[in-house]
């Protein structure tokens, strides 16, 4: 590594481009994800500016449509997915005591597919101008319902950009998922039975399995849509007898598990952070494993709760409503386990733990609004209103994003060798937390008042002004939080406190090697006897394996 320091920039660049090392690929995934986070965040900010007051004209209706489509698509496919795949890439081999992923080259292939797919999506701003000269970027919403996506309603090639870029990126996700499943199941170090894996590994195993199962259906409908648009097929053409609802069914068969694909890694980060910062063993490890697996299964059978308003038969409604309630059970078990882990512990409220507790509390509320939406009559009232927007931002921002920040502050020292600044981190947390509440809380109220989602403006005098103004103010507060984060990262990379191998006094294998880890991860491949090998190492007199 000292040798690298003298290399000119171009050769460093070369090192990264040709790398097959899981850590470098992991970092590239995460950095790309954060860049797109900033892009998609800016799009959201523009939308909040437009919606701050009634009858505003900052954005034209067409631009607004493109922005909410790109915002949603980017956040899910180009921010959530790469960050979670990147973190898994970086830490799974370290946590299970392996030197690399099972298929290093496939790993690189998966990353570059994602990378170029993402570029292609954003190239649409320039290249999407079809023959008809329509707006450039896709503007059909992140779920691109048929028949809005037919060439009649969406001329130009913007929609094709949406299809193709996500198809390519999705192919990349599948490659990485194959790699993760294989790595976790076949590369564990000596002594690491399945029930001795860190929960992180368990959760990513379930996550990768879900990716393998639900991304192909997405690919299939994307191919069908492409055939419709480019080759005159009739998959979603009601005039030829087709049923556009097929799109919705298959999309949500992908889409609902997708939201779990996004949140399960959040669970994973939290499950590593909470025990370490509570100085207690994770409560109910076997139950956590069971709950994760059952969440995976149940999430495959609830998709039509996104379609309550399309006119399903009562029996179907009843089934999907009931099945959706069922998800609450394993999810609740996890929440209780996290609380029980904290209970009676010596909690250290460092930034990772702040975000982790923020996650737990906000995720509960988001889950509850989800349960409200799972009640069919309630959903008929609230579907496609801002209430739904409030719900999913509660779980994705208050849930996933907080968990990502928790993990980021926790593992940053391992990846870079330096700690992030705690003071800035805490300010960031409070700005984000308050900004989050102020932005997304009022959305529920606007939804109750009947404000539809995806409208570029609204009329005065309908009881919506206050809520929208508040949401926009909240967004401004969040901006401060994000700026603090960026400053913190750049400052800490140069001046941050040197971390040492194990700054948090943690227990999993990644903390047993240097920070940053050498290319070979471990000088000797580890051998473990309990779920917390570093505890055993630090306390030879009182090892954990005696109790498991």
């Amino acid at each position: 590594m000292t040798r690298e320091a003298y290399n000119p920039l171009s050769s460093k660049f070369h090192d990264w481009v040709v790398t097959v090392d899981h850590k470098k690929l992991g970092v590239m995934y995460i950095v790309t994800g954060i860049l797109y986070l900033i892009v998609a965040g800016s799009e959201a900010l523009m939308m909040r500016w437009q919606l701050a007051i009634p009858n505003n004209d900052i954005l034209s209706p067409d631009t607004f449509n493109a922005f909410f489509t790109m915002h949603g698509t980017t956040m899910i496919f180009l921010v959530g997915m790469p960050i979670l795949l990147g973190a898994a890439n970086y830490f799974i081999p370290l946590m299970i005591g392996a030197r690399d992923m099972a298929f290093p080259r496939l790993n690189a292939f998966g990353f570059w597919l994602f990378f170029f797919g993402a570029l292609l999506l954003y190239f649409s701003f320039l290249g999407g101008q079809g023959l008809s000269g329509e707006e450039g970027a896709p503007n059909v919403g992140w779920f691109a319902y048929a028949p809005l996506t037919s060439t009649t309603f969406s001329p130009g090639s913007a929609t094709d950009y949406w299809v193709i870029s996500l198809f390519v990126a999705g192919l990349g996700s599948i490659m990485t998922a194959i790699n993760l499943v294989t790595t976790i199941l076949t590369m564990r170090c000596d002594g690491m039975t399945l029930m001795k894996m860190p929960l992180f590994a368990w959760m990513m195993l379930v996550d990768a399995a879900l990716i393998l199962i639900v991304l192909p259906p997405l690919a299939v409908i994307q191919i069908m849509l492409l055939l419709d648009r480019q080759f005159g097929a009739h998959f979603f053409d009601a005039q030829a007898g087709a049923d556009p609802l097929i799109w919705q069914h298959l999309f949500w068969f992908f889409g609902h598990p997708e939201v779990y694909i996004l949140i399960i890694p959040g669970f994973a980060y939290i499950s590593e952070v909470i025990p370490v910062f509570s100085r207690k063993v994770l409560f109910g490890y076997p139950l956590m494993v069971a709950a994760t697996v059952s969440i995976g299964f149940i999430s495959l059978g609830v998709w039509a709760h996104h379609m309550f308003a399309v006119g399903l038969s009562p029996a179907v409604l009843a089934y999907f409503s009931g099945a959706t309630f069922l998800v609450g059970v394993p999810t609740g078990m996890k929440i209780f386990n996290w609380i029980a882990t904290m209970w009676g512990g010596h909690i250290r409220f460092a930034t990772p733990m702040l975000f982790a507790t923020g996650f737990v509390s906000m995720f509960v509320l988001g889950g509850l609004t989800g349960i409200m939406l799972a009640v069919v009559p309630m959903d008929w009232q609230l579907s496609d209103t801002y209430f739904v927007v409030g719900h999913f931002h509660w779980v994705l921002f208050g849930g996933l994003l907080f968990a990502i920040f928790s993990g980021f502050f926790y593992w940053f020292p391992k990846v870079t060798g330096r700690l992030l600044n705690e003071t800035l981190g805490k300010w960031q947390f409070w700005f984000l937390f308050v900004g989050f509440l102020v932005t997304f809380g009022p959305m529920h109220m606007a939804g109750f008042e009947g404000m539809p989602r995806r409208i570029y403006t609204f009329m005065p005098g309908r009881g919506l002004e206050l809520w929208n103004m508040l949401s926009s103010i909240g967004a401004a507060i969040q901006v401060v939080g994000f700026i603090l984060f960026v400053i913190n990262v750049f400052w800490s990379l140069r001046k941050g406190k040197i971390a040492g191998d194990d700054p948090w006094d943690a227990w999993t294998l990644e903390w047993s090697t240097t920070s940053p880890p050498p290319p070979w991860n471990f000088a000797e491949t580890p051998q473990i006897a309990s779920r917390r090998p570093l505890w055993d190492l630090k306390h030879p007199d009182d090892p954990d394996w005696k109790y498991e």
């Binding site: 090392d21 690189a108 597919l113 292609l120 193709i164 390519v168 409560f283």
Partner: protein, 263 residues
């Protein structure tokens, strides 16, 4: 710190997967731009895949790296941990709860206290002891109307008593588990916080759920009676003895299939 030098083999860095991915992306982008882009993409991806294949066949291209042995973190005694306090139990919830019986008795006591206070209040405000019974049963019985709220109605009386007893006992049982959550001030939790939360929820939703019934309820008086329940049930429950949860017992024991060693 040991200075043994060992070597390991890792896959040689390669750009072929990148080329293949780029080619594949271009191939698909051909649909969007022109077939030329597609063709170039196709060629690139074929080149990429061939290059990749040659990395793997006939031999897996690898480079040898020298591993510098890393000192293993010295066995330190870590910062405070709950292990010292509960050496024998690694994954625990350090929490004692009340016996089931205490919850039961607390619920009954609170229920009786609330009953007495409500009946007295009804006498004073409506000149009849039956008002609260009728209002309560009105939530399930349609024959009760606003006019006959002060009359005695035997069915309503029994129904109301049944509902009241069920709710009181149910909440009493919950108190047995929940009150230890605020170990220093169980009474505040039981007498004020919890009754306030459910009263508020009821108050907030009643107008939508049953507007007619809502009219007949005097909410501030309602709150007082709830506090009375919470206070009595809270005191009874929290004064009772606390016991270990079953978390240290084996599953068979918890399920009552086996009886464990006496401890």
């Amino acid at each position: 710190m040991t200075t043994t030098k060992t070597t390991i083999k890792v896959p040689k860095p390669t750009a072929w997967p990148l080329v293949a991915a780029f080619g594949l992306t271009l191939t698909f982008a051909g649909f969007l731009t022109s077939y030329l882009v597609g063709i170039i993409g196709g060629i690139l991806s074929v080149i990429g895949f061939i290059g990749w294949f040659k990395d793997r066949f006939p031999n897996n291209l690898e480079i040898t790296v020298e591993v510098e042995a890393h000192h293993i973190p010295a066995p330190v005694h870590s910062t405070k941990s709950t292990h010292e306090e509960h050496p024998h139990h690694r994954a625990i919830l350090p929490l004692k709860i009340h016996r089931t019986q205490s919850g039961l008795i607390g619920g009954i006591a609170g229920g009786i206290a609330m009953l007495i206070v409500s009946v007295i209040g009804s006498f004073i405000m409506h000149g009849s002891p039956w008002y609260p019974f009728n209002v309560m049963s009105a939530s399930v019985m349609h024959s009760i109307t606003e006019q006959n709220l002060t009359n005695f109605n035997a069915i309503a009386f029994v129904v109301a008593l049944g509902i009241h007893a069920t709710l009181s006992i149910g909440i009493g049982l919950v108190y047995g588990v929940v009150l230890p959550l605020l170990p220093k001030h169980p009474i505040i939790l039981g007498a004020l916080i919890i009754p306030f939360i459910w009263s508020f929820l009821l108050y907030a939703t009643m107008n939508t759920l049953n507007p007619v019934l809502n009219e007949t309820v005097n909410w501030s008086w309602f709150l007082v009676t709830q506090f009375v329940f919470g206070f009595v049930a809270g005191i009874v429950v929290s004064k009772s003895e606390k016991i270990q949860t079953l978390q240290f017992k084996a599953f068979a024991e918890r399920a009552g299939i086996e009886t464990g060693k006496n401890d």
